[in-house]
């Protein structure tokens, strides 16, 4: 049960942490035509295609004792590596591209003319965003949130590098399955696999339902 709780905690924290920057970036990419937009988009998608171990290794070196965010450089220990916060960090980085991409799609589906109308009726850009764009993109954003959550829940490669595999502390579901496999506890591994299937099914199904509603409405 502990791995499940750790997984939920890590995935929730990471989802909450990446939502603001993820939605922000998604909006930026959907609406603005800033110079270097394609570069930003590529950079934001990089963790999607890089091997998770590579991402983990970069984080590990950066936060390690002699890294740029390490004790030696900052003077204080951020206490992220090999703690549950490390697992959150890994999940954040790996899930961000999914959130950005799906948020972008959600915003692109909002008709820009509606925003224009709101502006002509006297709403400021921020009010337009909060009372027109956000509510209209609500379903898509919720789906993006669930996608980010599920990706965080399943994170393995970067997590094992950055957070280790410490039972009761950083051993998430994905890592516990691996440990059970490695030590030949097949029964336990199967149990955890069943648990993850249920969780993943619930999450993806929710996304499907949300998207189904959207297309029917359109």
């Amino acid at each position: 049960v502990t791995p499940l709780l750790i997984s939920l905690k890590v995935a929730l924290c990471s989802t909450l942490l990446i939502l603001p920057p993820g939605i922000g970036l998604g909006y930026l990419l959907a609406r603005t035509r800033v110079r270097g937009r394609s570069v930003i988009e590529t950079l934001a998608s990089l963790p999607l295609v890089l091997p998770p171990t590579a991402v983990g290794y970069v984080l590990l070196r950066a936060l390690g004792r002699h890294g740029i965010f390490g004790v030696a450089a900052l003077g204080i220990d951020l206490d992220i590596l090999f703690t549950w916060k490390g697992a959150v960090l890994a999940a954040c980085v790996m899930a961000l591209p999914l959130v950005v991409r799906s948020a972008r799609v959600a915003f692109e589906e909002v008709d820009p003319r509606l925003e224009g109308v709101a502006r002509t009726l006297g709403l400021g850009p921020i009010r337009t965003f909060t009372s027109i764009t956000l509510p209209l993109a609500r379903r898509g954003l919720l789906a993006s949130c669930i996608l980010g959550f599920s990706r965080s829940l399943g994170e393995f490669g970067a997590t094992i590098v950055v957070a280790g595999n410490i039972p009761g502390k950083t051993e998430t579901l994905a890592l516990a399955i691996w440990s059970d496999m490695q030590t030949g506890r097949d029964h336990d591994a199967m149990l955890l696999v069943g648990l993850t299937v249920i969780l993943a099914f619930a999450a993806i199904w929710t996304v499907e339902i949300l998207q189904g509603r959207r297309t029917r409405r359109a």
Partner: protein
Amino acid sequence: MCHRRENLPVARESLLTSAAIMQGLARRTTFRIGIARRAAALALITAAVLPQPPARAAAAAVTAGAAPHSETIVYAAASLRDVLQELAPACGKATGTRLVFNFAGSGELAYQIETANKADVFFAADAVTMDEVARAGLVDQTSRRTPLSNRLVVIGPAGTTASVKAAADLAVPRVRRVALADPRSVPAGRYAKAWLVKAGVWEAVKERVLPALDVRAALAAVESGGADLGVVYKTDAKIATRARVLYEVPDADGPKIEYVLAALKDRPGLETSRKVVAWLCGAEAAAVFEASGFITRAPGR
């Protein structure tokens, strides 16, 4: 005292879980800004506002200085998994701390310690690995001990018909894969390689080696039938249910196996770590180590 400190994280966790459930509820039902969603937000905010347990600071504040360290993080070789978990409650009680383990191949653990020293005690399966960490200046040398030894055995899956009478039997054609802990980073693999090199068959065995992340993974590879033979510690074979010992490497043929244990420096609670090390080298622990098949030495040697 300990219990009260631990209440906070539990409260955080249950709040987070309830938030997740309520969010799920909000998604399932279609009321727009339903009560559930508000409650979920509230629970999340409360969870975020609850302070992180300042465990060490609190421990120091309560009894000014000599407080028992609430948690001792032990990084230990994978082969010690079962026996250390068995010893943990008694050791914790005797030294006034709670043991938290991180089990993996010793090389992997050394790398983790060098990257970010989050461990209080390191229990490595060979001296080479401990020396590596010591070179980084992280080992409390006065506490360093060599309390245990072990033996190597050749194992096969439970139903195997293979017979092994000497090292050379690992190099016969019908043996396609031999599971070893990866000799590049794991002590068990280095010991196995040293034995095979000494017997003059390493070159022949080398191409059949299935390198595993740690010795327990090598054991699992044999138990699953993925490897025809494996070389693991006698203590690993002892806990195996679907593998059997085919050959025990005689002490004279194999390398000297030494487990090295030490407290790590630059950590709060070094005194407690030293106590844990001392307890693990003591008579009570020795009896359990012996029962698990380890070879113990007199304390302090």
